[in-house]
């Protein structure tokens, strides 16, 4: 989404018991990628939010566990690069 200057976030949700998949789609600006965390509603989003923060630099407001280096090695963290960002 580099042309539009946004980061798109898709929340894939599987609803039990029918296992229907519902996608919540939202976009946030690249310059200020901040969005409210859903970890208080869905604790299962913990791993996903940590991963997206580490690799794309999205800040989930309210998630106290956010940290760099969840996946990325320390040299990448020190250089301040988000590996999966385009452009």
């Amino acid at each position: 989404m580099k042309d539009k200057g946004v980061i798109r976030l898709d929340y894939f949700t599987v609803l039990l018991p029918e296992e229907e998949t519902i996608v919540f789609r939202t976009t946030i600006p690249r310059e200020n990628p901040v969005i409210d965390s859903i970890i208080d509603i869905v604790p299962g989003a913990y791993s996903a939010e940590l991963e997206i923060h580490d690799l794309l630099g999205v800040i989930f407001k309210g998630n106290e566990f956010l940290k760099r280096g969840f996946f990325a090695p320390s040299d990448i963290v020190e250089s301040g690069v988000y590996p999966l960002r385009r452009g």
Partner: protein, 406 residues
């Protein structure tokens, strides 16, 4: 009063996902114990980040089929299957029935050997080495069956856009049926062993109890969720490939402990064996399942695809996005271990250190090598590395009350 905290970083090798891909994947469990009781566990990741998703973005769609197969050694067939189905969705290609049946056969064989492997590992973790050897011996038969079908004992590279890489002759189908029948008898025997053996029961029953509510809210998947009474199975709900015709039975247990998770796996392995035999009996002959790759377009049309597959460890999802070029714009992989291991740190709390490896193994993290634990005595500051299995057996210096340093 807590007057001593023993920090135990347990270094095990597990495949958590493409972010830390492949088979030999170290993860660090930092366990904080009060005496023998675990009070807190932190899961530290990032020791083997290979950047597979980035790699997929710089290679062509067709090369990526082989890269996603290398995400995980044990479940390479499901990874390629779910990726190939995403490409088929974007392209609008539909494989014929014979190809879809053969895909199911390959994936079910993989499920049998994966479930046998983790049950063998569990036997080893609780100190039952003979059972480990026996299960691994019988697992070799399944590997042989997989070799007959796909040509590769471990890495299959079996899936292709629009079909599979090689057809199955009638002669080989007969051999496969004989192998699977003999494995099925052994699976029944092992299931009985896990049901009736007193030692296994003592180590697994009521250890790592996971409530249904926690399993759902923490997004736990696969046999872990099904062992807690959550009926979730992508094979039944998505009906991909030939599962709409074969209709597999879903094994669900309500106990929620480590034992229930292992029993779900034995039940599923038996059903997979039955399913494989049914596939071999009713293999359609409607077409040649091996497509001509040269006819496929080099560039894929712009579009997105989201596919799910029931991997041995749970639901595996892929999101593939194409912008009309030769390479994918974005491939997102979410593996079942990614949520099952990272989100389940709460599961260890309240159990003893000797239960920690049992609970971890019951989540199927694919422990494949010698694991080690680091025990730190905060009073003296000394650190000692001890084998993970020795810790789990509760014997010797580190077991039982041996290191209760008061």
């Amino acid at each position: 009063m807590v007057d001593k905290v023993i920090e135990i970083p347990v270094s095990v090798e597990i495949p958590v996902g493409p972010q830390h891909p492949a088979l030999h994947e170290p993860v660090l469990l930092k366990a904080y114990a009060d005496g023998e009781v675990v009070v807190k566990v932190e899961v530290n990741t990032g020791y083997n980040h290979r950047g597979i998703e980035k790699l997929l973005e710089v290679n062509s769609f067709y090369k990526d089929i082989f890269i996603v197969g290398r995400v995980c050694g044990i479940c390479n067939t499901v990874h390629t299957n779910v990726y190939v189905r995403a490409l088929e969705q974007i392209l609008g290609v539909e494989p014929c029935r014979r190809a879809r049946y053969l895909r199911v056969l390959a994936m079910e064989l993989e499920r049998i050997h994966s479930h046998m492997l983790i049950n063998a590992v569990m036997a080893e973790v609780i100190g039952f080495d003979t059972l480990f050897m026996n299960i691994m011996l019988d697992r070799e038969k399944v590997m042989k069956a997989k070799e007959l079908l796909t040509g590769g004992r471990v890495m299959a590279d079996y899936m292709m856009v629009g079909g599979v890489r090689r057809d199955l002759s009638d002669e080989d189908a007969g051999r496969l049926a004989r192998i699977i029948s003999s494995v099925r008898e052994r699976l029944e025997y092992y299931k009985k062993v896990f049901e009736e053996d007193i030692t296994i029961g003592k180590r697994l029953v009521n250890v790592g109890v996971l409530k249904r509510r926690d399993a759902v809210s923490h997004s736990l998947l696969g046999p872990v969720a099904r062992g807690s009474g959550v009926r979730i199975d992508a094979r039944v709900s998505d009906k991909y490939d030939a599962y709409d015709e074969l209709k597999p039975e879903v094994v669900v247990r309500d106990e929620g402990d480590s034992w229930a998770r292992m029993m779900v796996r034995w039940g599923e392995a038996l059903i997979s064996a039955d399913l494989s035999l049914r596939v071999l009996q009713s293999l359609p002959r409607d077409c040649n399942p091996v497509p001509d790759e040269k006819k496929l377009p080099r560039k894929l049309p712009a579009g997105e695809a989201y596919t799910r597959v029931e991997a041995p460890r749970g639901e595996l999802t892929y999101f593939v996005m194409s912008d009309g070029g030769v390479n994918p714009y974005r491939v997102k992989i979410r593996t079942p271990s990614f949520t099952n291991i990272i989100n389940s740190a709460f599961l260890y709390e309240g159990y003893t250190i000797a239960d920690l490896p049992v609970i971890l193994a019951s989540l199927d993290p694919c422990i494949s090598c010698m694991e080690r634990a680091l025990v730190t005595d905060l009073k003296t500051g000394s650190r000692k590395v001890i084998p993970f299995t020795e810790l789990s057996r509760g014997g010797g210096k580190w077991g039982s009350r041996g290191y209760y340093l008061q």
